[in-house]
């Protein structure tokens, strides 16, 4: 293998690796035995990159072979969608508790972390409770809203922005209509739900539910149906 050839391969591999998101800028500057080793490495990298580029899941394969190849094909949700406000049903707040300021406006703010005894004793915090407490999400000054980590106040109707601060990947999927339940029309108006409609915000893990009845086993001659 001539040096020139090796260099060409190396540049080629470098180019592919940059495409894959990991640059290998130092390889081109290497000399002598190091250069030969780098060439070997580059060849391996090229093979790996090619394999990565050609191998794909059934979904991608389907999209490639059966769907119109297009410039319109979108790789990420539009930036505009990120700031867009999503229409949701009213947040699930216990009847009679809202507005919170109804009680809290006349009470002094107590920022100390403590077990709640007089009110809200039914709230069990099981949501990174080692590190967080009520006022990390609820606003101390205006109890009728929540606040983001940066201090921006958000109404309960936009609580998905609060949740999305940690669960950004879920928020992205939710906006695209892929995380969470949708109702309505597949090509028109879609009904969204807030995170809190399915996940109780204080203990968000999905609760086990009772399944609907199992199908009956087919009756066969000589066997009694169970």
């Amino acid at each position: 293998m001539s040096g020139r050839n090796a260099e060409w391969r190396m540049q080629n591999a470098e180019c592919q690796m940059q495409n894959a998101g990991c640059g290998l800028h130092a390889a081109g500057a290497a000399t002598g035995p190091l250069r030969a080793r780098a060439a070997g490495f580059a060849r391996g990298a090229a093979v790996a990159a090619l394999t990565a580029l050609t191998a794909c899941s059934p979904g991608e394969h389907y999209a490639r072979t059966h769907l119109p190849a297009s410039g319109t094909r979108k790789l990420a949700p539009k930036a505009a969608a990120v700031v867009e406000r999503v229409e949701v049903p009213p947040p699930p707040i216990t009847e009679g508790l809202f507005p919170c300021s109804g009680c809290h406006a006349s009470m002094p703010v107590n920022r100390s972390r403590r077990p709640l005894t007089e009110m809200h004793g039914d709230i069990e915090l099981d949501h990174d409770e080692q590190h967080r407490w009520c006022l990390d999400c609820h606003d101390a000054e205006d109890r009728d809203v929540l606040h983001l980590a940066g201090g921006e106040r958000v109404p309960f109707e936009e609580s998905y922005r609060l949740c999305g601060q940690c669960h950004g990947e879920k928020l992205r999927d939710w906006r695209a209509g892929v995380h969470g339940r949708r109702t309505g029309q597949w090509n028109g108006h879609k009904g969204y739900l807030l995170c809190a409609h399915c996940h109780e915000p204080h203990r968000p893990r999905f609760r086990p539910i009772r399944p609907e009845p199992a199908p009956l086993r087919p009756a066969a001659p000589g066997r009694r149906p169970e």
Binding site: R182, Q185, I209
Partner: protein, 291 residues
């Protein structure tokens, strides 16, 4: 050796076979036609007859739609295996929406419980699991219904042409043409087709009166039926019943040709698989891992 031996067909054989073929062709051409090849006015008449029949049987006004496939639409479905909890809400919502027989029981969706240790393994899957609460420890769930294959084995084996793929990708059955031979059930690798062994029983008050001629209209005994992506809803722009009912939001539905649709987002951003890919059925029903 010099003897002349005719080896081909005789004149008499040829004439009689040609006559038989011509008679057969005339009989089929003049006889009843499948819904998708009937002229529009005959379809309308047939649909009106169905509406009258079903309204009388259910004691309530029934509408039967013959809405054709929408232009530029190919339906696709995606199901999130990391979300499904196996609650079978979809199974029963499907039964209510699509007028399946309650006794004997016909379910278009089967939720298979599988062991985490075995992975997707049909040989050890359990559709009859009983539990007080799901998801059960150490198990995951794979709901299976019609995969709406592009290369559907079921439509190829039908001797009467009673089942075919519509332009929007839905595999449908014309119940008037199904002769109940069940070849399609043998051909389907997903167990997605179901046979009416007895006269379907459906309490009139629980019937869904919004029907489609190729979907949830009342079926007679002795025909095969299957999931149609709720054709009566999908062609009306709505989500199938199973999508709307799923409490975990595991079910996604939309137009594969629309780059903005939810199914396209799934295909482009998630790890996707299809069942029994090696059979080259090319399903339009995708399973994915949302997280």
């Amino acid at each position: 050796m010099s003897e002349h031996r005719p080896t081909g067909v005789t004149r008499r054989q040829f004439a009689s076979q040609a006559a038989a073929a011509a008679a057969g062709w005339i009989l089929t051409a003049c006889g009843p036609r499948r819904l998708h090849e009937m002229p529009r006015d005959r379809v309308r008449a047939a649909i009106r007859a169905m509406e009258q029949d079903y309204s009388a049987r259910l004691g309530r006004p029934v509408t039967v739609s013959d809405a054709p496939a929408l232009e530029g639409v190919e339906f696709g479905y995606a199901l999130d295996l990391s979300r499904c909890v196996g609650c079978r809400r979809c199974v029963h919502a499907c039964v209510a929406e699509n007028n399946q027989s309650r006794d004997p029981e016909v379910h278009w969706i089967r939720v298979l419980a599988m062991d985490n240790e075995k992975g997707i393994d049909f040989a050890h899957a359990d559709p009859y699991y009983q539990a007080d609460a799901v998801p059960e420890e150490g198990r995951f769930y794979v709901p299976v219904s019609c995969q709406q294959c592009r290369n559907a084995p079921c439509t190829k084996v039908c001797p009467t042409g009673a089942t075919w793929t519509e332009p929007d990708g839905i595999v449908v059955i014309d119940y008037d043409w199904c002769i109940g031979c069940r070849y399609c059930m043998a051909a389907c690798p997903y167990g997605a087709r179901h046979f009416n062994w007895k006269q379907p029983s459906l309490p009139a008050e629980r019937a869904n009166t919004r029907m489609h001629a190729l979907g949830n209209r009342l079926r007679p005994v002795g025909v095969v039926e299957k999931c149609t992506f709720c054709i009566q809803r999908a062609r009306d722009g709505r989500y199938p019943a199973c999508v709307e009912v799923c409490p975990a939001g595991a079910r996604k539905f939309g137009n594969l040709l629309d780059p903005e649709s939810e199914v396209r987002y799934v295909l482009e951003h998630k790890r996707v698989l299809v069942l029994k890919q090696e059979l080259n059925t090319v399903p339009k029903f995708f399973y994915f891992y949302g997280s």
